[in-house]
């Protein structure tokens, strides 16, 4: 399963607007996407679920692992990587 390791640099972490943007982007792809809080070593959750993403408690500077499987998996990973690399468009 393709996956990628990233560091969340936004000051809010995966919370508030960044969390919403993250889920919205993931939701635009048909494949299954999961995200894992590597820093606190928590199990992976559905990246399209805002509540699940919030319960990961990802703060600024945390490392996350995103995995995708199925149709457009590579494109989905790229889109989420870009979103985080561009600091959620800020």
């Amino acid at each position: 399963m393709p996956s990628t390791l990233l560091t969340v640099t936004h000051s809010a972490g995966l919370h508030a607007r960044p969390a919403a943007e993250f889920v919205k982007t993931a939701g635009a792809y048909p494949c299954q996407i999961t995200v894992r809080n590597v820093t606190d070593d928590k199990p992976a959750v559905n990246a399209k679920s805002i509540l699940s993403v919030l319960t990961l408690g990802v703060n600024q500077g945390y490392q996350i692992e995103i995995s995708a499987e199925g149709e457009s998996a590579a494109a989905a990973l790229q889109a989420l990587t870009d979103l985080i690399a561009n600091n959620f468009g800020e």
Partner: protein, 572 residues
């Protein structure tokens, strides 16, 4: 009459009748259903109605408060579209044949509890949002969505707790103030109250069952004070205070982002004492030019082990980023036998304020300081902040030398790891008389001093300021304290070093001419005091302040100094 003190959440004084908000507790029926398909339809209908309501609330919040506030309700809509949540509800209804109400209650509560279990208060506060949406859906399912109590006349809303939905639905014209028994300063309700400009106090220990509807309430959103059942005299006083407060505050706030210049053009720095990211944000809003005291104890309290380096880096970095290149003075751990930190093994001491605390832990536990210094340096390397590190409770020169050695050690380890470290100023607090008296020796070793007047007063006058029977003796206006302040500033300036002050004295507008006259370079205080003190500084000429300071130093008692200053303030 109930009189209590809660946490100040949104500034201003509110006076009005009490309106106790007692939302209908919705009973959640729990029973098996035969036609689970029909039950699923019923649930989807409720979700659709809830989404429509939230769209309306988002529009309302956008007009009444702003874009950020509207986003709160946009996020609530996202919860309703959450695939995992919907799958859980669907499973309970269709596979477990549970009724819609119980399925909703259980599924939302699962997430609320997971959020509450997280360490970060930001994430914990989102549990309130999840429960808010849950209540909305339950109300719709019960068919009682219009049973919400309506605030029809101007009043102060008092409640056990308020959700963002509660807060936004009140008519802004009718809501004079907000007081909740629970709730913290980072809740969305507080953010809304601030955006709406409504004075608010949270965590106020009131007994709601004892509040008569329509009782007169005085609420002070700056001090956190709440009086329920206020007498006519109290109300009259409060009203006068509110009027003059508003006039004065408007003038101060209008100029709060201007520099603090005396009439003859002498500029001083006005900065803030903070203990969290929210404080830092508030400080900037109040016109702070930087942070003069970042307390770091919160990182160490109420936990079982020392905070990890990366956890510290994270918290410092967030604050540094918010301060965007402005100076930030960080005080290293100032903890002792009076605070709960079991993992430090501080023994019960008969005199914790004279005991093993603050910088004195360095010899036995150098790891704590090295760890903190490393975290600060890493956070500074990752941001543009102008970091200044400050040691608390220094009483002899050896402590400064030892701390600098540890600092150099931490820095060289980080450089070996490839960090580009910025220039960092190194200073000490002057809060022990020995340090003030030997300031000329200390000045050779450091870049700056910051005078902690609360402890300096306590140690100079031998008064425990937490002991009510003697606390009145603890006045920073005492000429003995003033002489130590004067000597500290003189010695520092003689060596070309700057001096700040981060005790409560710096935030007292009456002390402004005295401190200006003594040559203080930086005034650090609670964020809310910044506009007031800046305005107080602008009233004076520096040359007249120097004369005032010289005269004040000549008195024999604190009372004489105060009387003199009251006189000059009145006649200025």
């Amino acid at each position: 009459m109930q009189h209590c003190k809660g946490l100040p959440a949104s500034g201003g004084i509110a006076i009005g009748k009490a309106w106790v908000y007692r939302p209908q507790r919705i009973k959640v029926p729990r029973h098996p259903v035969e036609d689970s398909e029909q039950e699923w339809q019923r649930l989807q209908h409720a979700f659709a109605c809830a989404r429509t309501q939230l769209q309306e609330l988002a529009a309302r919040a956008q007009t009444a408060a702003g874009k950020e506030e509207a986003a709160i309700f946009a996020a609530h809509q996202l919860f309703l579209e959450d695939a995992e949540l919907l799958a859980a509800v669907q499973h309970l209804i269709q596979d477990e044949h549970l009724n819609a109400e119980a399925a909703v209650a259980d599924s939302f509560e699962h997430y609320a509890e997971m959020l509450l279990a997280l360490e970060d208060t930001y994430f914990q506060a989102r549990a309130q949002d999840v429960r808010d949406v849950k209540q909305r859906v339950l109300r719709l399912l019960s068919g009682k969505e219009n049973d919400v109590p309506i605030l029809s006349a101007a009043a102060i809303v008092i409640a056990e707790d308020l959700t963002p939905s509660d807060t936004i639905q009140f008519d802004r014209c009718n809501i004079l103030g907000i007081c909740t028994v629970r709730g913290g300063p980072t809740s969305h309700t507080v953010i809304l109250a601030r955006a709406l400009g409504v004075p608010a106090v949270v965590s106020a220990p009131l007994d709601l069952s004892k509040i008569a509807e329509g009782a007169m309430v005085v609420l002070d959103g700056d001090s956190g004070e709440v009086i329920v059942g206020a007498t006519p005299e109290t109300i009259a006083q409060a009203r006068q205070r509110a009027d003059s407060w508003q006039q004065q505050r408007a003038v101060e706030l209008a100029a709060s982002h201007q520099p603090a210049l005396t009439r003859d053009g002498h500029q001083v720095e006005v900065v803030a004492n903070v203990g969290s990211l929210e404080d830092a944000q508030q400080a900037l809003a109040m016109g702070a030019e930087g942070i003069g005291l970042l307390r770091t104890e919160f990182l160490y309290l109420n936990r079982c082990q020392l905070p990890a380096e990366n956890e510290q880096v994270e918290i410092y970095r967030r604050i540094f980023e918010v301060m965007a290149g402005r100076p930030v003075v960080v005080r290293t751990l100032d903890i002792g036998g009076d605070k709960p930190a079991p993992y430090l093994h501080i023994q019960t001491e008969s005199n914790p304020f004279l005991g093993w605390r603050a910088i004195r832990m360095m010899s036995e536990r150098p790891d704590i300081l090295i760890n903190q210094l490393s975290a600060l340096l890493i956070a500074a390397a990752k941001t543009t902040t102008d970091l200044r590190i400050m040691l608390p409770l220094v009483s002899c020169l050896g402590e400064v030398k030892q701390a600098k050695t540890l600092f150099d050690q931490a820095a060289s380890v980080l450089r070996e790891q490839g960090y580009q470290l910025p220039e960092v100023q190194f200073g000490i607090m002057i809060e022990v008389p020995s340090a003030a008296l030997l300031a000329s020796h200390f000045a050779l070793q450091v870049d700056f001093f910051s005078i902690g007047t609360n402890d300096l007063t306590q140690y100079t006058l031998a008064v425990d300021r937490t002991n009510e029977r003697v606390a009145s003796l603890a006045s920073p206006y005492h000429p003995a304290v003033l002489k130590l302040i004067a000597e500290t500033i003189r010695a520092a300036h003689a060596h070309g070093k700057w001096v700040g002050m981060c005790g409560e004295f710096a935030g007292d507008p009456m002390a402004a001419p005295l401190l200006l006259g003594l040559g203080l370079d930086e005034f650090s205080m609670a964020p809310a005091s910044i506009p007031t003190v800046k305005q107080a500084i602008r009233r004076w000429r520096w040359d007249e302040c120097k004369q005032i300071a010289q005269i004040a130093l000549g008195f024999a008692t604190a009372a004489a100094v105060r009387t003199y200053l009251q006189g000059v303030v009145r006649s200025s």
